[in-house]
Amino acid sequence: MNLGVYGLGIASPAGIGKATVIERLKNNTAPVPTLRSAEDATLGLFLPALPVPALSGGRRMSPWLRMALSAGQEAVSDCSAEQRNALNIVSATGFGSLKHTADFLTNLIRNQESEPQPANFIFSVHNAAATQTAIALGSKGANYTLSSVDTGLEQALVLADKLSGLSLVLAADEYQPLANESQHKARYWKAVPVDPSSSACPGEGAAAVLVGPAQPGQITIRSIRAGFLPRKAPDVELEQAEINCLLAEAGVTWRDLDAVITNASQVPAWDRGLDAVWSHWPVTTEIPRRSYKPWTGEFPSASGCGLAITILAMQMGGWPDVHECKMKTVLFYNRSRFGFRSMVVLQR
């Protein structure tokens, strides 16, 4: 694999738009305190700054759709009309548009099927983000939507690598009180320590990366793995072999790595697999290892926003609190408690 990054867009707790995120990265102002307000079940954390899409039904679109459209349009801002027309779109999401689903079902139950709402039904489908982006951009290339509880953007990159030409790879998920309430009932958040420095709090966001055949001077995705592992203690030796294989595919070694960015959540129960892998790998002690979670919060597409933030940090030439880090060659590593694992080698 040798995918070049042609453009990037982001709408997340770390900021709406690349410029805001870069500014925050430079000042190391992580957005977690903002996210905490999500606990009081307020919706639309980012909407005030997100424009109403100039599309049919734009005013009724959920935060999920608006975030995805905002990130997608930012990523292709330098594309010509011809490039947009032929663009492939591969989008990823965990829950899709929970708001439209919840609104449709609530209305269905409240009104006993008497006033069905077609707009909520149409926008509730998972592919709405990819197809609405295609409508907004006039993109008639391949159009895929995938759903995964974790590592969706990385899976989408694997699919995009099989397509020819430019591909807009998107990942988005919205915060929804309903899901949060359900997670509370399932004691999902009970595992989280009440610690203001912990990043394990709900989040939402969208990230978009425009990729295509790599060209000189670009940040490139040199190799990638997206897999599903049995949910038991990791086979550390096998995992080390896999990482070595990934690095070899990228033409680099451990010594070339400037940083490892992971999905560590600071919740011991959730990080068990991740910790097991790294604690058996002494060489990593010399390489700065940081988590993107303080910049994203917890949601199915968090790794997508994490990857976008990592790319921005590489463009900037450093991770917020690691000033000596050149961020030229980076390993982006996710090992989720749901069994998904992704590894990406990026080079500037």
């Binding site: 049919s56 039904g57 779109i89 999401t93 965990g94 899709g96 689903t101 919840a102 449709f104 079902l105 609530t106 269905l108 139950i109 006993q112 099927e113 008497s114 069905p116 709402q117 077609p118 039904f121 149409i122 926008f123 509730s124 489908v125 998972h126 592919n127 709405a128 990819a130 197809t131 609405q132 295609a134 409508i135 993109s139 008639k140 290339g141 391949a142 159009n143 895929y144 939507t145 995938l146 759903s147 995964s148 509880v149 969706g152 899976q155 694997v158 690598d161 099989k162 899901a179 359900s182 009932k185 997206a226 897999g227 599903f228 592992l229 049995p230 199915p300 749901f338 069994g339 998904f340």
Partner: protein, 402 residues
């Protein structure tokens, strides 16, 4: 330049309103049976009179751990297990890292999500796990967990094109070296959301789906699952597996036209079919049978007919839609109908368009009304979805069948 590897199909499986496995379903289809009936899975005051293709037979033969999953996951498991068994694999696949799993679904565990909502609304204790089933990703996750697959595991959710996209992308993953084998599946169960949603769009036919008929008024919803085991041909030959057919090519385009209506000229559908033919390396005259998307809605059938007429010009192959018999099964449709295309190649018997008695004279293509015996070398499957997602797959007969 090296020749791309051929993608062998070594196992098929499906569960539909017509049968609990691929053979039962196909036999009933060829007999001209119609699997539509009264809605029994849940009650609906407003749309309960609409005929649906529900699976009435018990799913109780499934392992207990699967019976705790959503109905869609149960259907996906049943079809996948049949496909893997036919391919000669047991309950756990060998070399799991070389396997990918692509599941297609539209509503996934929506039926469970609805229960959660209803119970929450009436202040009854609701099981939080029910909302966990809402994740469409849980379909592929359940399959990977069940069969031990460790490569790329993901769920494609491109509305009604999901199933065929799983097949097309599964083949692409093998062709380009990202996997050696792929379990490609499509599954969806009936739900209140889809019944009321399609009802609100006024595209359900109270008389049952009548694809390409002059009096067609819409679709009939259904539930089903279809699964195919795809392998790099070298792998299939090495283990002396029986090759049922090949995935010869695939196409994927987007109309970029409207959130729910197809491009009225069918331009995106046409482009997807042409892409699939180019990838298969054949001209349109080689296609012997097309399993059309053919939902029975006035707009879809008109747009698809125009596209088919342009692609095939004066060499129209035999075309039928099987949705009048097994309903529109949304994310499952593309996978189930891919299984039907494979069976058409294997048996040299082509299914008719159940429900269509008087073909619409204004449509430029004429559907095959009754099943017909005819050997074909290539078949094509179309599936189109909300938002303008278009998918097309071309299948080739195994050498033994040519």
């Amino acid at each position: 330049m090296t020749t791309p590897p051929r993608i062998a199909i070594t196992g098929i499986g499906c569960v539909t309103s017509l049968g609990m496995n691929a053979n039962e379903t196909y036999h009933a289809l060829i007999q001209g049976q119609r699997g539509l009936g009264r809605l029994t899975l849940f009650s609906s005051g407003r749309y309960g009179h609409m005929p649906v293709a529900g699976i009435l037979r018990s799913l109780e033969g499934l392992p207990i751990r699967i019976r705790r999953k959503s109905r869609t996951e149960q259907l996906a498991f049943a079809a996948s297990r049949e496909a893997l068994q036919q391919a000669g694999y047991g309950d756990a696949v060998p070399s799991p890292a070389g396997w990918g799993c692509l599941a297609g679904t539209t509503v996934a565990g929506m039926f469970s999500t609805e229960d959660y909502f209803i119970q929450t609304w009436f202040d009854k204790p609701s099981a939080p796990a029910k909302l966990g089933h809402h994740l469409a990703g849980s379909v592929s996750q359940t399959l990977a967990d069940s069969f031990g697959i460790q490569g790329l595991v993901t769920t494609l959710s491109t509305a009604c094109a999901s199933g065929v996209h799983a097949v097309v992308m599964g083949a692409a993953l093998i062709r380009q070296g990202a996997a050696r084998r792929v379990l490609a599946c499509g599954a969806d169960s009936l739900s209140r959301m889809t019944l009321n949603g399609f009802g609100s769009l006024l595209i359900m036919d109270p008389a049952g789906g009548r694809p390409f008929d002059a009096d067609r008024r819409g679709l009939s919803l259904g539930e089903a699952a279809g699964a195919l085991v795809l392998e790099h041909e070298d792998e299939a030959l090495r283990r002396k597996a029986r090759i049922l057919a090949y995935v010869a090519g695939g196409g994927n385009t987007c109309d970029a036209y409207h959130p729910s209506a197809p491009d009225p000229e069918g331009r995106g559908a046409e482009a997807a079919m042409r892409q699939a033919l180019v990838e298969a390396g054949i001209g349109p005259e080689k296609i012997g049978y097309v399993n059309a998307h053919g939902t029975g809605t006035p707009d879809n059938d008109r747009a698809e007919s125009l596209a088919l007429a342009r692609v095939f010009a004066n060499q129209q192959p035999l075309i039928s839609s099987t949705k009048g018999a097994i309903g529109h099964t949304l994310g499952a449709a593309g996978a189930v109908e891919s299984v039907i295309c494979v069976q058409a190649l294997m048996t040299s018997t082509l299914p008719g368009t159940i429900g269509c008695s008087c073909p619409d004279p204004e449509l430029p293509v004429k559907p095959l009304l009754k099943s017909q015996t005819q050997a074909v070398c290539f078949t094509m499957n179309n599936a189109f979805g909300f938002g303008g997602n278009n998918g097309c797959a071309v299948f080739a007969a195994a050498e033994s069948a040519r």
